[in-house]
Symmetry: C2
């Protein structure tokens, strides 16, 4: 039986790769809903190709450019996202909307009992407590799309979390692995965008270069798998061949290995808990890798990872501040308004001015996010390109 999906963030990196998985399994997956941002031409093209029943975009005026065909619901903004996330007949909702915008439709999809295939890190980093509580209350499963979390999910298999000694998250180390703090001055945008193993969006590529991405993944893993920070270990593994692993209490480690191709974890999430299916994607071969290496992460140089640990230990609203401040700092770097090595300074300054609070609603998170962005902007301007 075919699987019916909605894709939120359909024109982004994960969204388009999800659609290429759909192309691979035309008869097994139906695209029922698509939600995009401002790439109107792209979403129109997707609409023509995949014939969804509903489409949503960011702005009302853009929505009008799509409203044309019979039998097609068109929405915009938060309400459009939520409409696409809760469509009748949809089994699974792929959440790949960048940033906090993913939280509201995720909560809506959970309430509508849709299985969540989650790519947007912010959903759990900023609002993990709220989202996982809602998922539990509605007996909805959150299946990760991130390659590391998919690897952990696959390695865990049908074993229970109380059999786990720790979760091992591998990190490529990014393009600046081995560098020292002084080497990180005068980094150019194109250098930071040159990730050694993965082709990803710009924002996440910078987060990989600072290792903040790994910090976010630690937070995500805590919520997804219900493990404390003490049970998560980050191991730098430059070849990105072991995508992550689970160490069980008996000393046995189960690891997931494969090519660096996001279509694999996407495919896994789309078909889960069904059987694995053959595809035409390039396969992994051990003989292509004569050496796999491992090392400890250098937190003294890659301070963003240390800041993530700090935010985790503070808990409550601190991770939301972490991601908001990081967003602004990375954006400023990409616009060449902030030096690469000043990204952690901005985040640290904002974190140090925040008193973490318990939160119960999305509104509280959004308020904290907004405050942290304003603060981060001030600090980004202050630190600049020095």
């Amino acid at each position: 039986m075919a699987i019916n999906i909605s894709i939120l963030g359909s024109t982004g990196s994960i969204g388009t790769q999800t659609l290429s998985v759909v192309d691979e399994f035309k008869n097994s997956i139906n695209v029922v809903g698509l939600a995009a941002g401002e790439s109107i031409d792209k979403v129109r093209e997707q609409t023509r190709k995949y014939h969804p029943k509903a489409v949503s975009v960011k702005k009302e005026e853009d929505a009008k450019l799509i409203r044309s065909k019979k039998g097609l619901r068109v929405g915009w903004g938060d309400s459009g996202n939520c409409m696409v996330a809760t469509l009748r007949g949809v089994d699974k909702v792929v959440i790949a909307t960048p940033g906090l915008a993913g939280i509201k439709p995720t909560l809506a999809a959970i309430k509508a009992k849709k299985t969540i295939a989650l790519a947007t890190k912010e959903v759990l980093v900023a609002a993990g407590d709220l989202v996982t509580r809602e998922a539990k209350n509605h007996k909805v499963e959150i299946v990760p799309i991130d390659s590391e979390h998919s690897a952990i999910f696959q390695s865990l298999g049908n074993r229970s979390i109380d059999e786990v000694k720790r979760v091992i998250i591998t990190a490529s180390g990014g393009p600046f692995r081995g560098k020292k703090p002084k080497d990180l001055k005068n980094i150019k945008v194109e250098q930071a965008l040159a990730h050694p193993n993965w082709k990803m969006g710009r924002k996440i590529t910078i987060d990989s270069a600072t290792l903040m991405n790994k910090g976010f993944e630690v937070i995500e893993a805590m919520w997804l798998f219900g493990v404390p920070l003490s049970k998560i270990k980050v191991v730098v593994h430059p070849q990105s061949v072991i995508h992550s692993a689970v160490e069980f209490i008996d000393g046995s480690i189960i690891a997931q290995i494969g090519p660096s191709d996001m279509r694999l974890p996407i495919q896994y999430a789309l078909f889960y808990p069904g059987k694995r299916k053959e595809n035409s994607f390039k396969k992994f071969s051990f003989s292509d890798y004569s050496n796999l290496s491992f090392e400890e992460p250098d937190i003294a140089t890659f301070r963003c990872l240390g800041l993530a640990y700090k935010a985790i230990k503070e808990g409550k609203t601190a991770p939301a501040v972490l991601t908001a401040a990081n967003d602004v700092a990375v954006e400023a770097f990409l616009e060449e308004k902030l030096a690469f090595h000043k990204i952690p300074d901005v985040i640290e300054s904002v974190l140090s001015r925040h008193s973490p609070k318990r939160y119960k609603s999305l509104e509280e998170i959004l308020a904290v996010d907004s405050w942290a962005r304003d603060e981060a902007l001030k600090f980004a301007i202050k630190f600049g390109k020095r």
Copy 2:
């Protein structure tokens, strides 16, 4: 609830390591039956320590040395082995009796509906067809103890075999990895017994040096997992960190990693399908391994692996001939009566004189085994230490 086990081959390498797992989990595992060969002092000591309800040894006169305590059944030979393998109240039977002697009690245990924890390779190499058919008929599960097969079993998890593209069996390559045929002349027994990663019995250590052990493991994997030769790949991985893996049809590989400690797969088999349990054994750390490497096996040098493939392709009774001839050749090498590089010559000569036949009974296997041993002995004498 405690697990009740019998151990066949209790004084050997796997047997004593099984008992050290029992020591680790005193309250969770009861030793109900022990069967040994001729190490009478050792089995008497084990009997005093573990208080089994039944003990068996190889010879009748040795059995008399044990017959002393009330409430202890004592047996000998095949019937003693089968008595220990079928004891009332036993859940699981560890088969670690060397050679073909393991087949009869395995079949008896299967008929008595005991779960099999299998270490003795010959059981499946020589009689895989018979044993797996019986296991299927009696709905009995065979759980592997061999580290490679345990790794595959653990990596497969709850996935079905039709999701498997291939099984990847790793090989350390043994002490002579990288050597060429001319380097294998004048190999001394102690050189061949110096395995780089695993502490094992003498026979299996020589089989690891010739790579015949890997050939046996391929045959075992075929029977255990129901996969053809074309779906099994041997990869040389000198560090023995990845114990083996499963490549699924979607391109994802799940691998089992851990310390080179046989107690781990033994523990897994004893508690399977129950939860994993914490132990005091030394744990694995990625930071102890800065490099993992992989290479193709060199079948031109390690001809025994090629002979195993040949026997697999011939099928029927050929693998039984393979293991019988290998047994005799390795024994002759260990007694310094046959040169190391002549081991494959003996096996090849015997295989080439055999016309593989379908078999239906253990007796047919035993007849072939006996014939192959006689032949192998003749060739071992003929080739000698030249």
